[in-house]
């Protein structure tokens, strides 16, 4: 340890005691800083990115080649039917790492450090979710390539297909906030991992992702038909393949907006009161 005077201007008289008010510009800079931190973390754990692509890849191959032959859906190739559902599964899976990472940050004391800084309160969570969204983009790009390799085709205009991809990402981003709330609420990385499997199971399997809702038992159909994953997948299918889209699209956008706003509020509240 060097005993020299050290940091510039650390003398008492030069210490700044006046707080700087938080402006929108500073808040955005905070979000940028935290996003960069999390992007660096993602770049330094490529194995995590790889596994989060591998899992939906296996499900896709399973349903395309193992189970798909037994599932007949009138008027559509099963591969075109199932691929949008797999895209959605990929972004839901990505959200699980959000819950896990936040529980870890809480336990390791990182959240204490950040909460003791004058940064914008929303920046910590916004930076986390934005970085996780970027991982969703990577996973989706890989799966679009893989889907094409196993016979999936876009049949609609480029604009509509892009809108479909954007809708999946919007759904994934909104759900990231729900996962953030789970991570902050359970506070323990292992519990966070187990707890975030639940929404994944309910939303993905009890939806139109793999089989049409009409094949499900009557008591399940009202839920399965109206839950956010189904309306999102149905509008994405319509955007990719053509066909009437507006009813589902309206509902899907409303779900995404609603999930985002509710869990934004819940997560911020949990973050403000975060204690290990």
């Amino acid at each position: 340890m060097t005993g020299v005077t050290g940091m510039t201007g650390l003398a008492a008289g030069q210490q700044a005691t006046q707080p700087v008010p938080l402006t929108m510009r500073l808040a955005l800079r905070d979000i940028g800083g935290i996003t960069r931190r999390n992007l660096l973390r993602i770049a330094r754990t490529p194995q995590l990115v790889f596994v989060s692509i591998l899992q939906p890849t296996i499900i896709l191959l399973l349903f395309r080649f193992v189970l798909g032959g037994a599932i007949h859906i009138p008027g559509v190739d099963y591969v075109d039917y199932v691929v949008p559902g797999i895209f959605l599964e990929a972004v839901l899976l990505g959200g699980m790492t959000t819950a896990l990472a936040l529980a870890q940050d809480l336990q390791s004391g990182m959240i204490d450090r950040f909460r003791s800084l004058p940064m914008a309160r929303s920046a910590f969570l916004a930076g986390r979710t934005l970085a996780d969204l970027s991982r969703g983009v990577i996973a989706l790009a890989a799966l679009i390539g893989l889907g094409a390799a196993v016979g999936f085709r876009f049949h609609n205009s480029a604009g509509a297909c892009l809108a479909g991809v954007a809708l999946i990402l919007a759904f994934g981003y909104a759900m990231t906030w729900a996962y953030a709330a789970i991570g902050l609420a359970v506070k323990d990385p292992q519990t966070a991992q187990m707890a975030s499997i639940l929404p994944m199971f309910v939303l993905f399997f009890a939806s139109s992702a793999l089989v049409p809702v009409s094949t499900m038992p009557g008591w399940l159909q009202p839920f399965a038909r109206n839950q956010p994953a189904t309306v999102t997948i149905d509008s994405v299918r319509a955007l990719f393949e053509g066909g009437p889209v507006y009813h589902d699209l309206w509902q899907a956008v409303a779900w995404c907006g609603g999930i985002f706003l509710v869990f934004l509020a819940v997560s911020l509240r949990l973050y403000r009161r975060a204690t290990v």
């Binding site: 008492a12 210490q15 700087v20 960069r36 973390r41």
Partner: protein, 332 residues
Amino acid sequence: MTQAPMIEAEALTKRFGSTLALDDVTVRAPAGQVLALLGPNGAGKTTLVRVLTTLLTPDSGRARVAGFDVVANASAIRSVIGLAGQYASVDELLTGRENLELAGLLYHLGKPVYRLRAREALERMSLTDVADRPVRTYSGGMRRRLDLAASLIRQPPVLFLDEPTTGLDPRTRNELWLLISELVAEGTTVLLTTQYMDEAEHLAAAIVVLDAGQVVAAGTADQLKDRLGGNVLEVRVTHRADLERAAALIAGTGSAAPRLEPELNKASMPVKGGPGELIAAGRALEDAGVALDDLGIRRPSLDDVFLALTGHAARPGNGDERTGRRRKERTA
């Protein structure tokens, strides 16, 4: 010369469920000094730090840091404090430099400023050589220094250190002590929590003893020792089997019951006088035929004060390597 205190807590109370973590706690830290909060695990030290650093809201009472109220002006406080803790909250996957630059950015320093400060802090903490390696590869002491550097990036006038040396080896601990002394010499006000008497004694101008959420004593190390009003008689037996018998034999001469440290074959207790009690104890032990390694009188340590104030030792049992080392040093 009276100066407005930098840290001021008045009748703070905080309850978690049925536990009263802070029970009517009042403390004051003058500017440019070290205030040590001394107490065992669970005494409420960390809770008090969390209230003062705006991480927790108190149930009742008031507290001000650098003139700002912890509840009403929480965001103002965050821009004038630094916080470093026993958990070394640094990002394992980022490099040391990246951690410091991120902290600088989040303190709202300009980029040229935080880059320069990060470089200077790395140098000051002797981390320049490992600055661009991920923190995951750092030793415990290096992490702790990096954590401290992150809390100093803003050059805060008030620094909170929550058990900064817990679990560190003696050399690293001494380095941190030196650094804290330098910061105080430069005008920083430091509030430090510790379970270690020697740390409080070495660094702090004032000590507040906390136990079970309450302030049980406050003052300088010497003032606290004077409260015991006498000396400490210490006996070390050759055979451990004799320890309890020896303690019973000397008990009559002391002003409180002897404290046993079986792992060191040692018993000690406060005595009002000095030489008279020593001779009486020596005679009693010799008459009973107890073989002794050592028998003596010394000034009370903060350990003795803590024991007298709270009825139990400040530190957890004997599992702590550092504790053992320190105890041996003192009896040597």
